[in-house]
């Protein structure tokens, strides 16, 4: 199997994590360092092993980009709108309250994803009612109220 260039990112990320954790561990009291050092050494060793595997694969079978495989059928606009929507929703929940933000989030996202209006309305109502009874009434969880409800 060819070496994938995208895997370089995995290796770099794992080495960066090792570096950060190693530095953090050196700041701890000596008595608390053993186990974090063990985890750093383990991840470092395995990442290095993977790097060696990658280099062997590159020498034997060549190198491929890997981007096509990782991002096959990727719809960037749709993905980033959804991602931004989810992030905005989490912020909104604590500001305007759970139920209001849920209605807004679900309606906007479903209409963006071209769900017919009737289906959108039914889904929004059913899920909110379900959550209200399951969490608020049955489990007694007080969902974030925010500045509205």
């Amino acid at each position: 199997m060819k070496m994938k260039k995208t895997d370089i990112g995995v290796v770099v990320f794992m080495y960066a994590m090792c570096g950060y954790w190693y530095y953090g561990t050196t700041q701890l009291k000596e008595s608390s360092r053993t186990y974090p050092y063990f985890t750093v050494a383990l991840l470092f060793g395995l990442t290095t092993l993977y790097l060696v595997q990658m280099l062997v694969a590159a020498k034997k079978h060549g190198v491929t980009s890997g981007v096509d495989e990782v991002f096959k059928d990727f719809k960037p606009a749709q993905f980033f709108v959804c991602l931004a929507g989810v992030a905005a929703y989490v912020v909104l929940v604590s500001v305007v309250g759970f139920f209001v933000s849920t209605v807004v989030f679900m309606t906007v996202l479903m209409l963006y994803l071209r769900v017919p209006v009737l289906y959108t309305a039914i889904t929004v109502v059913v899920l909110n009612v379900l959550i209200y009874f399951a969490f608020t009434r049955f489990l007694g969880v007080r969902l974030p109220a925010g500045i509205l409800i």
Binding site: L42, L46, V70, Q78, V90, M110, T123, L139
Partner: protein, 516 residues
């Protein structure tokens, strides 16, 4: 012996309370819905429902999770049979014969066979759960600090190999999870470690938030990146949903064989329902008196696959409950649920918490009956749900992820942690890393850390303590086997899948009109 029998009896009495029965029915129905939707998985469903079980009695919570697990494994067969798209990988082999039966106008018969075989596969697997789990738990009584350290490493070597394309990447995922498990206060000295100035991280990363993020939220991102397509319309069930006496008689040997296969696959570390269904299917074909029917739609093929994948459920609970080693991602989530309830897998579950454990076992038996009843009565309805568009699933699952992670401590920061793990999980899945290994590392990390540090403290820092007993060496050997077993399992899966595909292709080409 008498004690065990009385515990079993008491377990059934406790499991038969109205609330438990209601939860079983709800859990199975929910599991089937999750299982029959191709975008959702059993692990994701169990993770999503985990917070709902917090306020329940531990046994009730575990019964709900078990019910979702069993329901989801069966549910995958509905879409496999009616729309030729397995709801879960565990039903991949069912699609081969099941859909052919649908094309022949025998969808009802195929669904009945799937339900009937799933029921028996699941029910028979409970026998081994009752029999082997206490025996294995007794073995765990011999474990000291060093053994617990090796046990945590063993658990990681097993899960790391499962569902990863590269074994080393799986192990890297486990090591990454172990590193994240050091976030929070040092369990021995109380020193703050990697808390980024956030006091809510004092107890470490909340496992449930991580579970929901890694399994459920990451799936939302996976769905969001692909073009939204309308799934094929489910075929109409025009025939009667039943089997004749003769047909049921034919199925018995297949069900028994698949039960044994599924059970062993479940108990074996590193194997799961997705492997069992193909092995069960191929074995059914090998022993069939009508091999020529395979590929054209035969009830034996459906039964072989479905009995095997449901027999995995009981089998995989054995190492999970007794040793704390889940063999696949669903049982890793189930174990998370157990730990969140304040229970530690091991001998205590069969001594101190035996009434609770046996109630769960009894509930697991009863769940199979609910699966049969709900499956048979609701098949046609569930088939329509399997068409639900990803455009509806994306916002719905997101909302459930948010409300679920918030409900744990009623803290919005938990939602943020869930979201971060959602992104981590998405990236891990894109780059073929293993999210289940991270979850298990977060669970096993603290156990391993305590084991290692206590062992070193007792031995005054001598590392020899980790290699001082026979049990240590047995566990070390198991770790090596754990690393190597996925390679073997991959070969087995590929071989079984290739055989099933070849059979499918040969039969189809046989159907095609001959070229001039």
């Amino acid at each position: 012996m008498l004690d065990t029998l009385s515990l079993m009896g008491a377990g059934f009495l406790n499991a038969l309370t109205p609330i438990n029965l209601l939860m079983m029915a709800g859990g199975v129905a929910l599991g089937i819905v999750i299982g029959c939707m191709p975008g959702l998985s059993a692990a994701m469903g169990v993770a999503l429902m985990l917070p709902m079980t917090f306020t329940m009695e531990p046994e009730t919570g575990l019964i709900v999770l078990g019910a979702i697990y069993c329901g989801a494994i069966f549910g995958g067969s509905i879409s496999a049979i009616l729309i030729h798209t397995p709801g879960t990988p565990a039903s991949a082999a069912t699609a081969i014969e099941g859909y052919q039966m649908t094309l022949k106008g025998q969808a009802g018969k195929a669904l009945f066979t799937a339900c009937w075989s799933s029921f028996w596969g699941g029910l028979l697997s409970c026998i081994s759960l009752y029999f082997f789990a206490p025996l294995l738990a007794q073995l765990a009584l011999k474990f000291m600090s060093a053994e617990y350290f090796w046990l945590s490493i063993f658990g990681l070597t097993i899960i790391a190999g499962v569902s990863s394309k590269s074994l080393v990447k799986g192990l890297i995922s486990g090591a990454f999870g172990l590193m994240l498990s050091t976030i929070g206060l040092d369990p021995i000295t109380g020193v703050k470690r990697f808390m980024f100035g956030q006091s809510f991280l004092a107890e470490g990363v909340n496992t449930t938030c991580a579970l929901i993020g890694l399994f459920s939220m990451s799936q939302v991102f996976i769905l969001a990146e692909k073009k939204i397509v309308q799934r094929a319309k489910a075929a109409k069930v025009s025939d009667k949903m039943s089997l004749t006496k003769e047909e049921r008689k034919i199925l018995w040997p297949t069900i028994i064989r698949s039960w044994i296969i599924g059970n062993l696959t479940g108990i074996l570390p590193g194997a799961g329902a997705s492997i069992a269904c193909f092995v069960g299917y191929n074995t059914a074909k090998q022993f069939s008196k009508h091999k020529e029917d395979f590929g054209h739609g035969t009830i034996e093929g459906v039964a072989g696959s479905e009995a095997a994948n449901n027999a995995v459920t009981g089998g995989s609970l054995i190492p999970t409950l007794t040793l704390g080693i889940p063999g696949e991602s669903v049982t890793a989530v189930l174990m998370g649920g157990l730990i969140i309830q304040g229970l530690t897998p091991g001998p205590e579950l069969f001594t101190k918490y035996a009434p609770m454990t046996y109630t769960f076992f009894a509930g697991f038996v009863l769940v199979q009956f609910f699966m049969l009843a709900i499956g048979l009565l609701g098949c046609k309805g569930f088939a329509h749900i399997s068409r639900l568009s990803d455009a509806i699933l994306i916002p719905c699952v997101t909302v459930l992820c948010v409300v679920g992670s918030y409900a744990i401590h009623r803290n919005i920061l938990d939602v943020v942690v869930m979201l971060i793990f959602g992104v981590i999980g998405y990236l891990m899945r894109k780059f073929d890393l293993n999210t289940a290994a991270v979850v298990l590392a977060l669970i096993l990390g603290p156990i391993g850390e305590k084991g290692l540090r206590n062992a070193l403290r007792v031995s005054q820092g001598s590392i020899g303590v980790l290699f001082s007993s026979v049990v240590d060496w047995v566990l070390i050997i198991l770790c090596v086997v754990g690393v190597l077993s996925p390679l073997l399992m991959n070969k087995l899966e590929k071989k079984s899948q290739a055989a099933a595909d070849a059979n499918d292709t040969v039969e189809k080409s046989g159907d095609a009109p001959a070229a001039d």
